[in-house]
Amino acid sequence: MPPKQSLSMAWLLQYLRPVKWRMVLLLFMLLISIALQLVNPQIVQRFIDQATGSGTVSSLLALAGLYLVVAVLNQLFTVALDYLGNDVAWRSTNRMRADLLKHTLRLDMRFHNRKTPGEMIERIDGDVTHMSNFFGMFIVQIVGSFVLLTGILGYMFVHSLPIAATMTAFTCLSIGVMFAIRNLGVKSSQEERQANASLFGLIEERISGIEDVQANGGVPRLMNRYHRAMRAVFRSGLKAWMLRVTPWNATVILFTIAVTAVLLISVRLYLHGEITLGTLFLFFQYTQMLNDPMEQLGNQLQEFQKAKSGMLRTRELLSSRSEIEDGVEEALPDGPLSVSFEQVSFSYNEEQQVLHEISFDLKPGERLGLVGRTGSGKSSISRLLLRLYNIDDGIIRIGGVDIRSLRLKALYRRVGMVTQDVQLFDGTLRDNLTLFNPNLSDEEVFETTDRLGLRPWIEAMPLGLDTRLTTGGASLSAGEAQLFALTRVFLTKPSLVILDEPSSRLDAATEAALQTAVDQLLERCTGIVIAHRLSTLDNVDKIMVLRQGRMIEFGARDALAQNPSSEFFRLLQSDRQEELA
């Protein structure tokens, strides 16, 4: 999709293309249903003329019976139309939801760092649902209304030119007015949607972090925040609703004038004997029927305004580009990958430099330990390696290839990362371990979990891998969750692994047991280990010490550990003092 496109129907139509045959069927059925609607008043006209004239009771009964048949048929078509319209709407909006999810997942972390999951629910599901009526029903109703209008007007033209002319003039005027003020409520509807997204963002976030709120006495203040957010929804919503109904009201007034005018003319014609009483009644019925398409148009305009605000927000989301441009290179050397940083500088925002001119080389299969205080830039290095952010300056190469020229898919296929923060899905254990990848066999899962010591725990579960982890893994301890994260990454068989304090939440006894397994797994790849605890770094080849974004030391671990003037030596000493104090 091109980056910028003017907002047009054409964009929406692309979602209707896959359902075009359903649309054709829908329109076809619509035409039949309209024809039936036009027939019934004709029957009534005959009925009246015959009832007040010379018709027999039996012919009257026949007309009444015909009326019944047509009415029942009409009902059946209405239900079928509604079903089909809904089907089209769901199919096309589901595509749109999927597109949105796919697109936003590709956006860079700068984007995700600003959006709460609750807000994303509103934008991917809420906004699109607002558009759902627009697909299917909107087009059908608009087309249907116009056809019905034309049918009625056409009939009137046959019977009386002045009436038809008046009716046409008013119809055009109404439609014109409707169109002229159709955008009245769009802007405030957008504000309403945003207020809703904020409200739901707030609620979702606090429910997710319920313990943090409760155990620190934050509930009363949360309620206060809720009231403010709900009030914003109320104020924007009230305005949006009132503005949205205005076009509809305008058309009702115009319609009233039109109907009155038509009847006034018809009465004159009737008095001159140009039309029968039955025809007068037919005109009356048709003017009543005109009410329907006009009201439909008005309703659809309201829907249109809702849909348009959703559409604008959706388009905005779809046109936001990731700052990370995908490369084209696919190929990376087989086996463990080398890593090199050349004069890499990086900042999350302009004022605050996080990394200053970092340069180092790591040969395939080597393991690097990253040491430094919190906030020294350790985690930033790992995030840069995975292109979660763009660097400001310098070059990062993996396997000798500049990562900017690599396709992200190719990069992620070979590089894995375990972080401190483990996110779990409401799904089975298997889903959580394989991240919904159906190609991983249970044997592979068990092989890895066996190594990491998670297998006995899984087997103790009532349904094994099919056990559901309910409500975001509330029944899992943080340590168990971390084992999950390790399993996830090693299941993808990476050639370069970054472990961002993978054992920080484990106790020493468990950690020691785990260390062996992790070391074994690391044998097949290059590894970068970030650690607070120097004990985690006993088996690495190289050490890098970071302080405030600068690399102050880099070298072989053993050499540094034995050199009393090195920073690493000093750290080991203070570690030992702490332990012995």
Partner: protein
């Protein structure tokens, strides 16, 4: 609570707005009576003898006037109705949120994302039903007037119009269970989708790095597809029921035609009467549809109501319709500070036989007892999965204890979740959550505080260095769940948040796991320089163990051993193992090759 009781309570919440709405919409819906009478009037004059144009069209002008009045009426009524919508949404959502926040911790029987559908769709369903009840009175007046007017014209024909009412109501009564079933599957499918979106974006980094975008998308497509099916079936059924109502009415119109054929021939039924009948019947059909639909809605609402009620703790489900303040027209009052009752300041906390079993699992804690005096430092240690976190969470009421007693100053604590909170106790979870606000807002939780006390907690939590490196200092926006900060920063911000509450008892669940040794050491040093600090900390780190007055060693959910550090190192094998594991690295600093067994 039945749907009827629930609706009753809801109407009584703000009766004036309901009555105003009922009156305005009542007028709006009964005005068409005038239109029908006007048209009859016109057609009767048209078939009459006089052919004076102005005399003839006068009823038409009256009808036009009624129509215009109706539009004005609509505007006012609509304004009132939209206001009412938001009042209902506000009070229901407020009650839901309040109810959720009374749950012990994360035991909510719905995932956060899934709970969101109850704030959206289920609340909207209630609003929809209220809408029917607002329209009801006007429609009823209209229907009754119609019947009276029609009956006076021709009683026999009118009685036919009563038939559908009976039929429709019967049909709806029969279809209630299916309606509920379809509606429930539809809601559940929607809940799964919102839950999945929330979790996906909560785990967006893991999804990206795990190359799981395609798998996640496939799952999403599947969920979407099953919702499409559920929604279509739900909707088809709804439409079918609606259309059945219409069917019955079309048939009745046909029957009326049949019946009045002979009457009209005989001149006992005028064209004006016919105009009135057809004009009334179409609008009358809406009234009948509404009544039938309301029976259906009433049954269907059971689903939405149950889904909302489940968010409340057992026993207090009825609070879903509680009459809470909603502050739509003014700022909510500032939150009163919890004041510490001096007589009730902590002197001791005693726990006896505390037990909690995770449902459907043998995990949990059994029979834990300990005692903490003011000023003491209690450390809970043990292996992964030994029940340390479960212990503190059960103590705090974040998990509902299945047995045991908690005594505060020797007095029994009935409801720990309500009692053990600031200013008595506060807590930092193992994986703390920050919220998408500024850092200051997160630490103070929106409370206005002096710069001094803020500086104090920041220093205690060893955050002052970080503040210098953060672009906007305290005003830095931390992002959802605090993602803009590092893990260590989140942990210390959460610690600062806890300290800010100035509670008597601080409970750390593995505070130190994301901190490096130097930072952690500083933190404990600074904390114990403060006078009069009482702490319970879950930790397996030496820095904490060495400062403990008392240590509890947990294993497989029970207390394996307890005592001071030196006692335990002498007597407890488990403690020795835990201590040893921690010790190994420093012992092997020199050669650094071997691994501990």
């Amino acid at each position: 609570m039945t749907v009827t009781q629930f609706m009753g309570r809801l109407f009584r919440y703000n009766p004036s707005i309901y009555i105003v709405n009922g009156l305005l919409w009542g007028l709006f819906h009964s005005l068409p009576v005038g239109i029908g009478l006007g048209m009859k009037w016109f057609f009767d004059r048209a078939t009459g003898q006089s052919h004076d144009y102005l005399w003839l069209v006068f009823p038409l002008l009256v009808v036009a006037l009624i129509r215009v009045t109706r539009v004005g009426m609509f505007y006012v009524a609509f304004y009132k109705w939209v206001t009412y919508i938001y009042i209902l949404q506000a009070v229901l959502r407020r009650n839901l949120l309040g109810g959720i926040m009374r749950w012990p911790g994360r035991n909510l029987p719905a995932s956060p994302g899934e709970a969101m559908t109850r704030f959206r769709e289920d609340v909207d369903e209630v609003v929809e039903y209220v809408e029917s009840w607002v329209d009801f009175w006007g429609r009823l007046v209209y229907a009754v007037t119609c019947i009276v007017v029609m009956a006076r014209i021709n009683g026999l024909i009118t009685s036919v119009a009563f038939l559908p009412l009976v039929v429709v109501t019967l049909l709806n009564n029969l279809s209630g269970n299916r309606a509920r079933k379809y509606s429930k599957t539809n809601r559940e499918a929607t809940g799964r989708i919102t839950g999945f979106i929330a979790e996906t974006f909560g785990a967006v980094q893991a999804v990206k790095l795990g190359q799981a975008e395609d798998h996640v998308l496939n799952r999403f497509l599947k969920l979407n597809e099953s919702r499409r099916r559920a929604a279509l079936r739900d909707n088809l059924f709804k439409q079918w029921m609606k259309s059945l109502n219409q069917h019955v009415l079309s048939i009745c119109t046909g029957v009326i035609l049949l019946m009045c054929a002979s009457e009209m021939k005989a001149g006992r039924f005028t064209v004006g009467d016919f105009a009135l009948f057809t004009s009334y019947l179409t609008t009358f059909s809406f009234s009948i549809s509404l009544f039938g639909y309301m029976v259906f809605q009433h049954k269907r609402l059971r689903v939405a109501l149950d889904r909302m009620r489940i968010l409340f703790r057992p026993g207090e489900e009825d609070r879903v319709a509680e009459h809470s303040e909603i502050y739509l027209y003014g700022d909510p009052p500032d939150v009163p500070e919890p004041t510490a009752d001096e007589g009730d300041r902590m002197r001791s906390l005693e726990v006896r036989g505390l037990t909690y079993n995770y449902p459907n699992s043998e995990n949990g804690i059994r029979d834990i007892s300990f005692r903490v005096e003011r000023g003491q430092f209690l450390v809970v240690t043990g292996r992964i999965g030994s029940g340390k976190s479960s212990l503190v969470r059960t103590l705090l009421g974040l998990l509902p204890k299945t047995d045991g007693t908690i005594m505060w100053n020797g007095r029994l604590v009935e409801d720990p979740a309500n009692f053990l909170k600031p200013p008595r106790a506060s807590y930092t979870p193992q994986v703390p959550r920050l919220f998408s606000d500024t850092l200051q807002e997160n630490i103070t939780q929106g409370k206005s505080t002096s710069q001094d006390s803020l500086d104090r907690v920041v220093r205690l939590a060893v955050m002052e260095q970080d503040l210098l490196t953060l672009e906007k200092g305290m005003e830095t926006f931390v992002g959802p769940r605090g993602v803009m900060l590092s893990g260590g920063q989140i942990q210390r911000a959460a610690t600062a948040r806890m300290l800010m509450t100035q509670s008597d008892l601080f409970i750390f669940d593995d505070l130190s796991s994301a901190l490096d040794i130097e930072t952690e050491k500083t933190l404990w040093e600074r904390l114990f320089q403060e006078r009069d600090v009482t702490c319970i900390a879950v930790s397996h780190r030496r820095a904490a163990l060495m400062r403990a007055d008392h240590i509890i060693v947990m294993k497989d959910g029970v207390v394996e051993a307890e005592g001071t550090l030196s006692e335990l190192l002498n007597t407890s094998l488990e403690m020795q193992l835990l201590w040893q594991g921690e010790e190994t690295p420093s012992e092997e600093v020199g050669d650094g090759a071997e691994q501990p067994a």
